[in-house]
């Protein structure tokens, strides 16, 4: 019994280090690769190295690396929360895990309907990934969601799912959907189809990026202001950035925490609504009945 307990604790420590270590590694990489002379500036994701490739060089950037670290960290959180959930005695973390599952299942049931019951894990994954990625800017790291490539990847995944569920009603029905009011509207409908993932990606990325730009603008303005106020003091006393302490943190509560969580919720919500809206229920049921009849006739 005692040995089992010690093993349990050991695995726990392993999981906790799995949560924290990736973020620490990302911070160390950020500190090592930032040039010393660089002041406050607005820049995209830093490119670490590029691998030669036939059409276009494969580029490994800060955003990709950070999102990989976030994936490992989220895996650690999941393993930690569900560790020992079948042992019989439920503790606080098991209740937290159950609360998360119940909340997301309720959300999916309310918005997507009976057919999409199994979509709760997917929606939870999008929520967690997007939320964690946006909150990464609290640690001073580059948030992966402020790079359009990452968000566009998720949006393309959602687009593939939407098309898959549209095709459930038959390929001819899918093509017929493009000529909905009249035949002339086909190009506009194709454009509208493409606009869904583009607008999803731009919305998420633009919101996070605007928060980052405003934070940089305000902190550089405060730097200028504090050096203007204190410039008459001699030596290093004149260079104390006293206005920069605290004020950017208050703003980051809105731009990083609230906006990041909000955008994660909205991205998940739009995913659910788009996927469930694309599924033609009546057509699908008709096709299913026809198939059953064919099997019976044989």
């Amino acid at each position: 019994m005692n040995r089992n307990k010690r093993l349990f604790k050991l695995v726990d420590i392993l999981y906790i280090s799995m949560i924290i270590l990736p973020i620490m590694i990302a911070m160390v990489i950020k500190i090592l690769t930032t040039p010393l002379s660089q002041g406050i500036s607005i820049s995209g994701a830093r490119i670490f190295f590029s691998i030669p490739f036939p059409v276009q060089d494969l580029i490994i950037t800060e955003a990709q690396l950070n999102s990989a670290f976030v994936l490992i960290s989220i895996l650690g959180v999941c393993l930690f929360l569900t560790h020992g959930i079948n042992s019989g005695n439920l503790t606080t973390r098991h209740h937290i895990a159950e609360w998360i599952v119940e909340k997301v299942q309720g959300l999916v049931d309310g918005n997507m309907g009976e057919f999409f019951k199994g979509y709760a894990p997917f929606v939870t994954a999008i929520l967690g990934l997007s939320g964690f990625s946006s909150l990464l800017s609290l640690c001073g790291l580059f948030p992966p969601t402020s790079d359009i490539n990452i968000v566009a990847g998720w949006a393309i995944l959602v687009f593939i799912l939407i098309t898959y569920y549209k095709l459930k009603g038959g390929f001819l029905n899918y093509l017929k959907g493009f000529t909905e009011p009249i035949f002339v509207m086909a190009p506009l409908n194709v454009l509208g189809e493409i606009a869904t993932p583009v607008s999803m990606a731009f919305r998420h990325y633009g919101n996070v990026l605007s928060g980052m730009v405003i934070a940089v603008l305000i902190s550089s303005a405060l730097q200028g202001l504090s050096s203007m106020v204190l410039s008459w003091l001699p030596g290093f006393l004149g260079e104390i950035p006293f206005l920069q302490i605290g004020i950017p943190a208050v703003l980051s509560v809105y731009f990083d925490v609230f906006s990041g969580c909000m955008q994660a919720y909205i991205f998940a919500m739009l995913t659910m609504l788009n996927i469930s809206g694309a599924f033609p229920q009546e057509e699908y049921e008709m096709r299913k009945k026809k198939k059953l009849l064919k099997i019976k006739n044989k």
């Binding site: 633009g206 919101n207 990026l209």
Partner: protein, 96 residues
């Protein structure tokens, strides 16, 4: 050459400012409308506050999209467009 580059940079900054300024009008009006209607609904039926609030935030975020588009265009105009334009200008001068 310096004059041309100056004009390019100035026009990019001007375009970004106009783009953001005009692009922010629509979402501002739209979100204001949404919030005012939500306040009316909550005033009429205080028990439906949570549902109305979540729907309102959702709608606000969606009507914000056009503002975000103009923000993206403004950011492209400030950070990406000047370099591209100057490169094009230099190539054109080299060709001549």
């Amino acid at each position: 050459m310096e004059l041309a580059i100056g004009i390019i940079l100035g026009c990019c900054a001007l375009g970004a400012g106009i783009c953001m300024g005009i692009g922010a009008i629509g979402p501002g009006i739209g979100e204001g409308n949404a919030v005012s209607k939500a306040c009316e609904a909550i005033g009429r039926q205080p028990e439906s506050k949570s549902a109305v609030t979540s729907t309102m935030i959702m709608g606000c975020a969606i009507s914000e999209t056009t503002g975000i588009y103009s923000l993206v265009v403004a950011i492209l105009l400030i950070f990406v467009a000047p370099g591209l334009m100057v490169n094009i200008l230099k190539e054109a001068i080299n060709l001549l």
